[in-house]
Amino acid sequence: MVESQARRFFGSRVSRIEDDRLLRGRGRYVADIELPRELAAKFVRSYEAHASVAEIELGDAVEAEGVHAVFTGADFADSEIRCVSSYEGFQVSAQPILALDRVRFAGEALAMVIADDEYLAEDAAEMVFADLAPLPVVLDLDAALASDAEVLHDGWTDNAYVRRAVKTDGFDKAAAGAPHRLTIDLRNARHGAIPMENRACVADYDRGSNRFTLHTTTQVPHLIRAGLALAMDVPESQIRVIAPDVGGGFGVKAQLYTEEVACCLAARELGRPIKWVEDRREHFVASHHSREHRHRVTGYFDDLGRILALEADIRVDMGAYSVFPWTATMDNGMAMGILPGPYKIREYSATGTPVCTNKTPYGAYRGVARPAACFSIERLIDQIARHRGLDRAEVRRRNLLGADDYPWHSPSGLVYDSGSLAESLESVLQLGEYDVLLTEQAEARAQGRLFGIGLVAFTEQTAHTHQEFKQRGVPIVFGYETAKVRLDASGTAVVSASIHDHGQGLETTLAQIAADRLGLDLDKVRVEYGDTNQVAYGAGTFASRSAVLAGGAVTRAADDVAATLKEVAAHELEAAVEDMVIERGRLSVRGSPVVSIDISELCRLTYQRPERLPEGIEPSLESSRTYDAAPGTGAYTNAAHLSTVEIDPMTGKTAVLTYAIVEDCGPMINPMIVEGQIFGGVAQGIGTALFEEFLYDENGQPQSLTFSDYLIPTSTDVPDFAVAHLETPSPFTIGGIKGMGEGGAIAPGAVIASAIEDALSHLGETVVTDLPLTPERVLTHIDQAIAQGEGQ
């Protein structure tokens, strides 16, 4: 139990500390790092999606101006990325650092050119010719599972990484007894996180100590260290990973990449630092993709629209290789787990198949599988509403978990700790003025305009630790995060954490927590992260967990330090330790505030006047602690989103007009940061809903290689937001905090699909099942609705 302590900064809209640096262009990113004697790397990539490598002709590249070396697969054949799930029957893929005899996706690295600078490396890379003999390509995940499909890895029986199934005991009976059933097939397009900063790394190898230092754009420095140690067979103590400022991650920087291994190996080989900076064209093919799910869901329900049983078949296109540290089963596992969502569904049957195809490997992206799961269940609820002739809000009301249902043991084995689902739904209807919108819609229709309202409720699993990851079959079970708090002799605190801040505002929120626990001003706290030499172990930032886990670890470590301060102060002030109050830079005696001493004075004393310390107290104001949010099943944030759209009937172009959010992530450390996270997430979700899609031609050639082909939402595509908060604390976490970093990105696909379908509902029936809703797809829905309406 954590002792209560006055909250001065917790809960307030403190401006972000890091913004001063970042907004003034004073951030320091990997590409800004210049090491003495560094060389530039350029990768030669496969232009075929699937081919055997006949020969790689280096031609004039080796002799070209400024070139130091050209590496090919054989040079790095001792290393590989192999991430094995503990699920039974998992088929193992081994990703070579540079391709060996076969390439499995367009963009896979075939050779690595090292030259004096990136221009010369680029020039020489053009001289390398890869003779590739095309093999049949496997591009579609359903085609990949056909019995006659080309099998992509040696020794595999088919292209399923694994096949999984869960089923509750009562499912068959409940399904058979249900008066109604509805099945829909849903597709989410393959797309990606698209951070502003592409990937980059600088690898340095010290021959004297046999040690590697890798500066890299990652969210998870400690996991990169673990992955490098495995891939290169080097002890972890010999690897230091540094992630300085990172220009956005969103999951795409939460995996180990072959380029990172290649740069380390090349640095060791050449004895010089090797720098690689990805360009955007590479990013589209070489940085991990995400989101490509296909679900078939069947709802069994009663006359009132209450779901009695839910059935789902989940297929995810995981691309060519299993990625470290998540394996190829992460999205599948998450989707199977969370698909029943915020609803009181007791009977559930799900099958799941992560599929191997000739596409870029698949990694994390904000929301991991939850956008697809939310899309499926919410689309199903809307269809049930239509089937029963009920209002969409009413069907949700009838199915949502109530306050009394917590803790809820979901039919997929999750434990929902707490929430305010019904309340957030009612609040968003108010905030978004649902009643007014219905009138507006009637008016719009009278004028021949297509105006629609979308509504979604969801729960966001956050801060899940060992229980969840054990279940997901990952080789490294992520649990705790670590924080070290140290007061220096000047009386300022340094907080070092195993999480990484790349836009989430954690530098500020962790400082807020530490400042409160230590009774310091915010400017007396510095938060540092991103260096495996700062704290020994931890996982990093992903899965909406850093505020909870690092926040908890900071609380614990700061309280340790505060306890020592109290001992020293009590000794100085000749008072009892229990009577010490720590507040606003001073320690005082409870009840007699004039008897006090400055924290800075205590710090100076502790380090510089050891003779004045009480007996048994060491001259150290430092503590390193971990926190794992036991029982490790996660804290559940919930939210409801309501949005309106208008569609151009002639072109199918959809404009998002309004967007309202009511969200409950428990007590907010900094509401401004919470809102920033939500708005950014929704903006990305609008990309999922309307724009983003990696396209391929029939040979597996990527068609989305620039930002004129791959569209992301810009400021003109994102409406203003209305937002309101509820604060239901988690019974499981320190301070009741819940994670919320991903939530914004989860719902928009479902909300906007719902709104578009609603905008057309007076014309006739059409079921919106595929994202993104490009103008052409929307026009097809308009045609379908009109045809169906006329056919009636």
């Binding site: 262009g25 221009y119 020039d123 360009d279 002639m650 620039t706 082909d709 569209l711 490009t774 103008p775």
Partner: protein, 322 residues
């Protein structure tokens, strides 16, 4: 407040260093891009510029706003041996009323076209269309001459030039000539301009200033047009006596649509729809990631109908419809 014309006219200092040098963008150190190697020229006069072009031959390219060329260099889609920057030449960014129309220097920026009063009064269609080009940062740099020379089939200026019966003036070391827009655009990114020639100005007619229309479909604000339609009409005593309808994004070059133009002549009712149908049936736009041929044909219909309705005005069109 600075007049945007002054900003546009003010001589831009070309970076007087080898293109491969590191350029200090700020105190954070070098920012690099990766074009292939080339020689860089920054002539002070048109005469010097065309001399370089004559000298180097067709492996030289001209740099104006750089909003198309620089990306092509960085993607290594263009591999010139020499780059001739027009940024230091005076007198290429003037706007002058001539014979009821507008003579526009090649280096006039999109943004100048969007904000200049002469453009708004003499060629309001051009002023309106300018706002659809990219984002403001692009419009601040990109030039009308660059866009016409580049001849992207989805670009606004080539279509506007056709709709406003424009001409292009070209200079080479030997001679200066003026080519009508209708003969200028030949194929994808290919024009009647010879490699040794420079566009010095374009001319747009003023006779369409009372009846014009422009409508464009873009996936997002600032994107290249999927389809854009520019319409210029001359109306006399309630009847359309001349109509020019030009489309971007429907073929490998900007094109006029004679059938749609024909549909507008006179006073027949329902002309906007007739023209839209004619336009839709005239083209088979190639499909890509932004939409299939079928989809694009529907856009042609929608945008033609809108542009024509705008050109005829609600009164004329509804009177005709009645």
């Amino acid at each position: 407040m600075l007049d945007s014309d002054d900003i546009g006219r003010r001589r831009r200092e070309p970076a007087k260093r080898a293109a491969r040098d590191e350029i200090d963008m700020n105190d954070r150190g070098p920012v690099r891009m990766k074009p292939p190697k080339f020689d860089y020229h920054a002539p002070d006069t048109v005469r010097e510029a065309v001399a370089v072009l004559a000298d180097v031959g067709d492996s030289a390219v001209v740099l104006s706003g750089g909003q198309s060329l620089i990306p092509m260099l960085n993607l290594r889609l263009a591999r010139p041996t020499d780059v001739v920057d027009l940024g230091a030449i005076d007198g290429l960014a003037n706007l002058e009323p001539v014979d009821g129309g507008l003579e526009i220097g090649a280096m006039v920026t999109h943004r100048q076209m969007e904000t200049n009063d002469l453009v708004a009064s003499i060629t309001p269609l051009a002023q309106h269309a300018a706002g659809f080009i990219g984002h403001r940062a692009i419009r601040n740099r990109g030039t009308i001459g660059g866009s016409i020379a580049h001849a992207d089939p989805a670009a606004e200026w080539p279509a506007v030039l056709l709709a406003l019966d424009g001409t292009i003036t070209l200079a080479s070391a030997e001679t200066t000539r003026t080519v009508p827009g209708d003969q200028f655009f030949e194929a994808l990114f290919t024009t009647a301009k010879r490699p040794d020639e420079l566009i010095t100005s374009v001319y747009l007619s003023g006779r369409f200033q009372n009846s014009w229309g422009f409508s464009e479909f873009q996936r997002r604000t600032g994107d290249f047009a999927t389809v854009a339609v520019a319409v210029g009409c001359v109306i006399a005593t309630g009847a359309v006596v001349e109509a020019r309808i030009a489309l971007a994004g429907v073929a490998e070059r900007p094109v006029r649509c004679p059938d749609a133009e024909q549909a507008l002549i006179g006073t027949r009712p329902g002309r906007a729809v007739d023209a839209a149908i004619a336009a839709r049936d005239s083209f088979e736009p190639v499909g890509d990631c932004h939409g299939s041929t079928e989809f694009r044909k529907r856009l042609v219909f929608a945008e033609t109908k809108r542009a024509v309705t705008q050109a005829l005005g609600p009164d004329l069109e509804s009177r005709a419809n009645a």
